[in-house]
Subunit: 219 residues, 2 copies
């Protein structure tokens, strides 16, 4: 019988191992954007349905996702507990320690001069001046629980549908769950590709709220 300490490490390793697959990380991302069926997740990730199902079951065993039956489909959603915090922690570490990650992020965002994030103070100033559109790219339910005042909620998957609400000549400031949330990476890349001027907010909603700035809650 191994020592309790080693037993704890074995459990931690078990949980870390589940995160050690790009496919599973991607599944967590999609699932964190809202309930999805296995078929839909398979489609989004490009995996076969059976394979997706197996990955989802590993994720469920680790508590990262949970499932419920809805008619003939099984819907997966994000588990509870500090999952996003854990992923943010991993990504934060990666961005500081892995030159490769920095390089990819750099390319992804395009030129370095465009990359510079907007500070909270800058944002407030420019919102006052009325010359920016503030975009919240988190899923609707997270938005409803609290968002930056005046933000427009356009969940990542629905970006295409809401393009008409965006004025191409106004700069857009996008934010999501935190400085290392991959949602805003996606959003910024997609909008840049369409010719919009977009920058990221320095950090995400949790940091904004923690800093004591005003927060709006959906009615």
């Amino acid at each position: 019988m191994p020592s309790p300490k080693v037993q704890i490490y074995e459990q931690l390793a078990e949980l870390a191992k589940v995160l050690g697959s790009a496919h599973r990380l991607e599944l967590i991302e999609y699932v964190s954007q809202g309930e999805r069926s296995v078929e839909r997740l398979a489609e989004l990730t490009g995996l076969t349905v059976a394979n997706t199902s197996q990955h989802l079951q590993l994720l469920r065993r680790g508590g990262y996702v949970r499932s419920r039956r809805d008619g003939k489909r099984v819907l997966y959603s994000l588990g509870d507990g500090p999952i996003l915090a854990l992923l943010a922690s991993l990504q934060c570490y990666a961005e500081r320690n892995s030159a490769e990650v920095r390089a990819i992020v750099g390319d992804y965002f395009g030129k370095l001069d465009q990359l510079e994030p907007v500070s909270r103070e800058d944002l407030l100033q420019r919102l006052d001046d009325g010359d920016v559109t503030l975009l919240d790219v988190r899923p609707e339910d997270e938005f409803d629980l609290g968002h930056l005042p005046g933000a427009l909620n356009v969940p990542l998957g629905k970006l295409e549908l809401h393009l008409s609400e965006l004025t191409p000549d106004r700069e857009i400031v996008a934010y999501c769950r935190g400085p290392y949330c991959i949602l805003s990476f996606e959003a910024v890349a997609a909008l840049r590709a369409k010719g919009y001027r977009v920058r990221r907010l320095q950090d995400g909603f949790p940091e904004w709220k923690a800093a004591g700035y005003a927060v709006e809650v959906s009615p």
Copy 2:
């Protein structure tokens, strides 16, 4: 060529995979307590030297540890970046989501009534009254960079040597790097086994400092 998003996930998965082994987590722990040679680490973990070396090289590739040559030995130490934060995040998640981890931690500490951690306010009060010994079980270099006022530094590995400094009839409050740092688990278990009355501080040094309480720095 996979999409940049997938590339990032591949990198993150790579890093997570390195954490997906109990032996490697244990190695990180030992290495975080100070520079250690491969042979020493092999001895501490019970692995063969070659095997230890290989694990260390994986850890080094992930940036979790670094190495330097000292004479005929190679000394490994903790890498930089938010490694301990990442591990704390993992452990926090585990303790909330894994019944097994909670069970092990429960057993490890003994009865639940003894488990209750000491709050910061309680600690201050009781330090004022002078009826507790405050124990910092982090490595010496971390202690020197800042610690709770009046704390006694007894790094985990040297606990045996310093037993004489502890009065058995005074209650001991131990703290380390954070609420999920495994060092204090070890310390509390070891001291309890010797009959001391020990409790953990509610959280560790980083939280204490962040909350704005007084901090002492070694001269």
